[in-house]
Symmetry: C2
Subunit: 367 residues, 2 copies
Amino acid sequence: MTVPGGERASAKPQPVRPTLAVVGATGAVGRVLVDLLATRADVWGEVRLFAGPEGIGTEVQVLGRSEPVRALEPGCFEGVDIALFEAPEDVVEEWAPLAVAAGAVAVDGSSAFRLHPDVPLVVPEINPSAARMRRIGIIAAPRCATLVLTVALAALHAEFGLSQLVVTAALAASGRGRIGVDTLRRQTAEVAGDPTVGTRTGDLRRAVSEQEDDPFEAPLAYNLLPWAGDTTEDGWSSEELGLRNETRKILGLPELPISATCLRVPVVSGHSLTVHAVFEREPDVHRVREILDSSAGVIVYDDPEKGEYPTPADVVGSDPTWVGRVRRSLDEPHGLELFLCGDNLRKGAALNCVQIAELVAAEGQAG
Amino acid sequence: MTVPGGERASAKPQPVRPTLAVVGATGAVGRVLVDLLATRADVWGEVRLFAGPEGIGTEVQVLGRSEPVRALEPGCFEGVDIALFEAPEDVVEEWAPLAVAAGAVAVDGSSAFRLHPDVPLVVPEINPSAARMRRIGIIAAPRCATLVLTVALAALHAEFGLSQLVVTAALAASGRGRIGVDTLRRQTAEVAGDPTVGTRTGDLRRAVSEQEDDPFEAPLAYNLLPWAGDTTEDGWSSEELGLRNETRKILGLPELPISATCLRVPVVSGHSLTVHAVFEREPDVHRVREILDSSAGVIVYDDPEKGEYPTPADVVGSDPTWVGRVRRSLDEPHGLELFLCGDNLRKGAALNCVQIAELVAAEGQAG
Ligand SMILES: NC(=O)c1ccc[n+]([C@@H]2O[C@H](COP(=O)([O-])OP(=O)(O)OC[C@H]3O[C@@H](n4cnc5c(N)ncnc54)[C@H](OP(=O)(O)O)[C@@H]3O)[C@@H](O)[C@H]2O)c1
Ligand SMILES: NC(=O)c1ccc[n+]([C@@H]2O[C@H](COP(=O)([O-])OP(=O)(O)OC[C@H]3O[C@@H](n4cnc5c(N)ncnc54)[C@H](OP(=O)(O)O)[C@@H]3O)[C@@H](O)[C@H]2O)c1
């Protein structure tokens, strides 16, 4: 890293621009992240890109430059200040500690370190100061569904005191990465134009081709799956438990009752959540809207009579959590119903990691 | 109606086969209903078919015969014993009482009479005897989502005592009738093959063509809408309130707290429901499976480790409510989580009406 400096010794020294590494730069999240950098504050010096076997050797445009995509190898993090990991969990488990050992702060976008007791789980709109509490040099970002949810709920919790959540998350194909999107597009092309498919038992299974690395156990086109993630005990999926545990950690409510069900839906990008929230104090709907409207990273779009409610098609490519269908529970005085929608690749992943990186970079500036 | 009789006066008289009318025989539900008749007990005599402007004058195959589709007109129900209405609400409001006046029992598959205090709302697996309590000659069938839900919950309620429901219903395009399916197929053909659509704000709205009679306010292909039905007070949709009120009426629990959110999803047929149910008594999961397994019209398909859970693609064309993802709520000792899936056009509409008609026909036989 070269230090841009002035000619005159008396000139205020230019701060050294930190070097950023992006691991998984060619993935669904990584590609969005690399594009995002150009839209954010101009704080980065070198940007070093890494990927797996498919990406290595390709070139990626980042901040107007074409950068080679490299392999992870010993010494690859030398000189890196902040390393963003948007790669599979096992890759992060192995390489994030090595990045830290090389002097970098690691930001983990996978689920490798999210629930580690010494790793802060950070949503800059909610708990930015937690980013400083990185005892092992790693900061984690929550999964996409958790982000969409917590960004909307944090301020409501502060005012009314959250006491219970029942959530159904309809997860987009891109939540399963590049292969998820490719599979949905391939299957959609296979069923489009068939005038009867989807009307007889199993005809969709016959209409879509099977591929060895299919990430979904049933067709996703014209269908939905009541399953996302890995199996765990007692019939819960890892997505559901992750959403529960991460929400508790971020909101600082380790005992909060949460029931979550995750569905996979034939949407390219954009996670949707139906939320039944119960509070300690009665949530006045008028006040709820006020709070949401003034929360960072939240937009209320809610007038069904005019056809106004968020949908994945409308929120994809945007940063906030969109809130619609705000209404009081009919039979529960302290209950509130919400529909949330957010871009899982942006705020749900790439943007949140970039925001964390910016927080860390700003510490450096301040220091 | 001719009476098939024996040659000899001493022969047991053959029962008169009742005449059936189907109003809306050319719709999404009506077409399935007409096909279904061939798979059911052979009890019907004449079958008289009616439809609106598009269907009148066409011919439809029913029970191996080709029958003309007629217009509703004065006198059209003369000689009809049971009239099934699978037509728009306003048509049923006008014509069901006329069918009754002509001497028929009317079975209403629309939402015209479901909540009328003098009209029983019947699910033959749950409350068959209610069909006899038709004070104004009309029997109603609940909406598709209510059917999928109540068929699964009735026996659980009998054992554990239902005390609360939080439901998210992901409704298929065919729940919006023939036009709903046509719209989804047209939009799917329009977006299939586009390698980037669904990744930028609004690109889906540009990719699908608008048509005057579009039933959805946003693209449905590669998207989902947090809205189904008409607007009502306080931000609830008619689908959500209907699901709540009908479930209460069928289960005989007029005060049951129910929070429902209805989504429209890009699935051809097959409604999916996530259910968070709370009971008065602790629901043992093993016993829950036993009860569901032995309930009429219910199949448990639940082994996520083996990829076994119901999806619309698998349940479409079948009769039962399929139950998967059975698990105890983690933080609520009396809570249970379920995923339900059922064919909205079969049990969710056509089949339930046929079953009701068969109940009424059997009364005639018995009497
Ligand atoms: N998708 C989401 O909505 C979302 C949201 C939040 C968090 N996340 C997390 O973000 C991470 C990436 O997800 P994704 O959806 O972007 O997945 P993806 O599309 O499958 O991309 C994975 C990326 O990791 C790279 N990679 C694979 N093996 C590697 C290795 N051995 N060494 C270095 N790089 C390797 C891939 O490179 P190649 O191009 O060579 O394959 C690719 O760039 C995952 O941990 C995921 O859980 C995803
Ligand atoms: N779809 C479901 O999942 C579902 C489930 C439960 C209940 N329902 C209810 O069932 C009813 C039919 O729904 P659908 O989905 O089958 O709708 P659809 O596909 O739009 O079919 C409507 C049917 O009604 C006929 N019709 C329209 N105007 C008429 C008129 N003036 N006189 C006589 N017939 C007329 C139509 O005839 P043309 O062919 O001439 O248009 C068509 O046969 C609705 O009340 C709906 O709420 C639907």
